[in-house]
Amino acid sequence: MKFAVVVFPGSNCDHDAYHAVKHVLGQDAEFVWHKDASLRGADVVLLPGGFSYGDYLRTGAIARFSPIMREVTRFAAGGGPVIGICNGFQVLLECGLLPGAMLRNRSVQFQCEFVHVRVEQVDTPFTAACVPGQVLRIPIAHGEGNYYAEPDVLTALEANRQVIFRYTTASGDVTEAANPNGSLNNIAGICNTQRNVVGLMPHPERACELAVGSRDGLVVLESVVKSVSSAGGALAGSPQ
């Protein structure tokens, strides 16, 4: 199974995602340059973290215009699994593949630390191997991860079970203190209505080996391998 790791100018978690997929998970991974027009037959698309275009206008605001994003949008429309992590999530918000927006963290500071997130739904390709309510200990590293959506959008997200990850305590309780950045409803990650596009602020790819503090994030990548395999590769809806 092949993962396309999209590289924007300013991506800086691209190597980490590649390492997690290729060397920890043992799957094929390929960097895809943002100016490329093809995903080269990938089964999964991963938009990594970083500061695409320096995040100078708004986080992810310029990356959405990269040529590869047209292909990513088509791939997603065809049902292909797409995950955006941190800046990748921000890009997905900017290009409209996911609803809502990011505000600066409540602390008005960049925050890098381990947090706990609860898996809310397991019917997405990126949570299929999780147990409902499973709590993952994975790190965040962002300055703008304070998720915001208009009230009607938020209501719809909750009604459609599109909230996939929520910040909680270690025991899985949604509390204000467990919310690191002020996100509405403690939202850490969401999916689209088709459920094949997932974005989250925490970094599962940074939590795939005990040596670096946790392997709780690996299940997210394992999930998509399981989903694509059991669908016989049929998830990838882009014409190859």
Binding site: P9, D16, F51, Q109, F110
Partner: protein, 749 residues
Amino acid sequence: MTSGPISDSVLERHGLKRDEYARILEMLGREPTLTELGIFSVMWSEHCSYKSSRVHLKTLPTTGPRVLQGPGENAGAVDIGDGLAAVFKIESHNHPSFIEPYQGAATGVGGIIRDIFTMGARPIALLNSLRFGSLDLPLVRRTMTGVVAGIAGYGNSIGIPTIGGEIGFDESYTGNPLVNVFCLGISRADEIIKGTASGAGNPVYYVGAKTGRDGIHGATMASAEFDDKSAEKRPAVQVGDPFMEKLLLEACLEVMKTDTLVGIQDMGAAGLTCSTCEMGSRGGAGVEIDVSLVPQRETGMTPYEIMLSESQERMLLVVKRGREAEVERIFEKWDLHAVCIGTVTTDGRMRVKDRGTVIAEIPNTALTDEAPLYRRPMQEPAYLAEVRRFDPAELGAPAAPAAVLRRLLASPGVASKRWVYRQYDHMVRTNTLVTPGMGAGVVRIKGTTRALALSADCNARFVYLDPYVGAQLAVAEAARNVACAGGEPIGATNCLNFGNPEKPEVMWQFAKAVEGMGAACRALGIPITGGNVSLYNETDGRAVLPTPVLGMVGLLEDADRAVRRTFREAGDVIVLLGESKAEIGGSEYLKVMHDRIAGSPPALDLAREAGLQRLLVAGAKTGLIRSAHDCAEGGLAVTVAESCFDTGIGAVVDLEAVGAPDQALTSVMTLFSESASRAIVSVVPARVPELLELAREHGVPARRIGLVGGSTLRFGIDGVPVAEVALAEAQEIWETALERALEVEPALA
């Protein structure tokens, strides 16, 4: 190329002395043009020429079996096995960080990262060593918040983890903070690239950000004291663009994989001037450029401004003739334009043209090797006699030890720096095995079994009290910190922060410190592969504490054996390695409880220190040592407390077991003395004899002093508590002190 005679006021504005000007006349055989004067001014500034420090720096040990690159290049390099090199250096950005804290610190990070990737190495870790005044002052709080945000803003964006460092506080840094930044990168040992220009006719390329008027005379500013007019120097501080640097980093590393480059150098201090003449000088060649070809951000820039601009994120490359298209193509991919601005020549001169007309022509060596060299007068400072007269008896009856411990844990120098390092992305690149706040930072080297332990250290109070011994202690502490993590110290870089070298007392401090540093490095077998000198750290005539910071690199053969500072399990035995003596001079205790910096620093036996470090590395290799923490600021009590923090498990320590039988130590001395060459380690009970035997073999005294367990930090004699603080309370004090001092709302998380 003619101009009138240069007036005194013009010379003064350029920071040049009359006799230096006479030398310029002699070297050129004529009056310099204003552009040439500007070029001499920056290249002969203290910052670029090391004119006051070079004679002393030459005495430092810079060679060793692992050294691949010593001083003189953009960074040093040591062999770490598997055909790989660790390329590293530390550099200061003190003056800009006072004038504009965010940009000053940010561009400091940008500058040191360029020094590393210029050598062909991919940067994988950053450290910083910071000093600020008292946080009681709003100015200092603003400076510190800005510096931390600037470091975070640059390092996070470019995606290099900041994995450790140190922060100290003293009133002397109020108007002159220290911002020292260390970067380490990894390259193939046989693919290190030099900053050299050679091969007549090879094209010289400029790539990166356009040149603007920012930072003109930054190097000259960094070579003068501050006064009340320094705030007006704000335009001399550069503005950083980490996104541009990220593009440059990736593009340069990609170009370096091809075989198209002769040499490459970043444009840091003194910008285009420095990179041009240094590359030419190293390669024994000349370089000719035309400033009209240099991409410019502003209109109407003069050649003088273009040559002296310190705009950030710019590189100068010498490309092999005939390979230009390959190089240009790679930069285009990254949306960067590589522009040919000149060629390499054979005449050893730096020739600058403006639309074809020569406006400066100077032999490279006049600007580099033949720059002024001073053996400045030295004199032992008068304050030393006074501080040496210190007698602990004059302090009166000590406060209750538990109260002292609480005070020390709340001291900004000791307190948790989480507020700081939480703002740094310390996990990106997924190599960080030991995160900030847990001792030396440790990063694994992917594709190998190895890891590197990194630490930056200096106790400036000790250096102030005795520059020779103090600098030795700084080397010892930095090396001990990486050894605690299991790393064998294999190389170091230094950042020497001192006052005005024209004052004999400051020069004396500097010379003694360098001498001590050299002696310690020789005794411990650690080469210094490069570094940086920052002088004129003075405000209104008052110098900072002499602060020679060491950036230390330790090598772990087995990344899985990295040791953290925290205790692991209740029931483990706490062992003190080394000897506690009645040494309170220069201690945190004396500063916090009595507001004094006095006495003598702790004595240092370098053979004992070397034995301790070998013991720590050996004990880590076999998994015998389960935790190890260097015993430094705040002494034994603070060290034990920090070993408990974040574990939820307390400790019980028997103070009678701490001191050697022949040392009748008071409780205060036992708890808070800062004797050198000590570490607190923990071990499973069954392996205590093994550890004691290993210690004996290494000539290190080792004593079983307590047990991990309980919910308090309990220090007692014969079971009677001398000091006892609930662990939760101690941790709360330690964790929140810095935020409280900065008057920042504690984060909700």
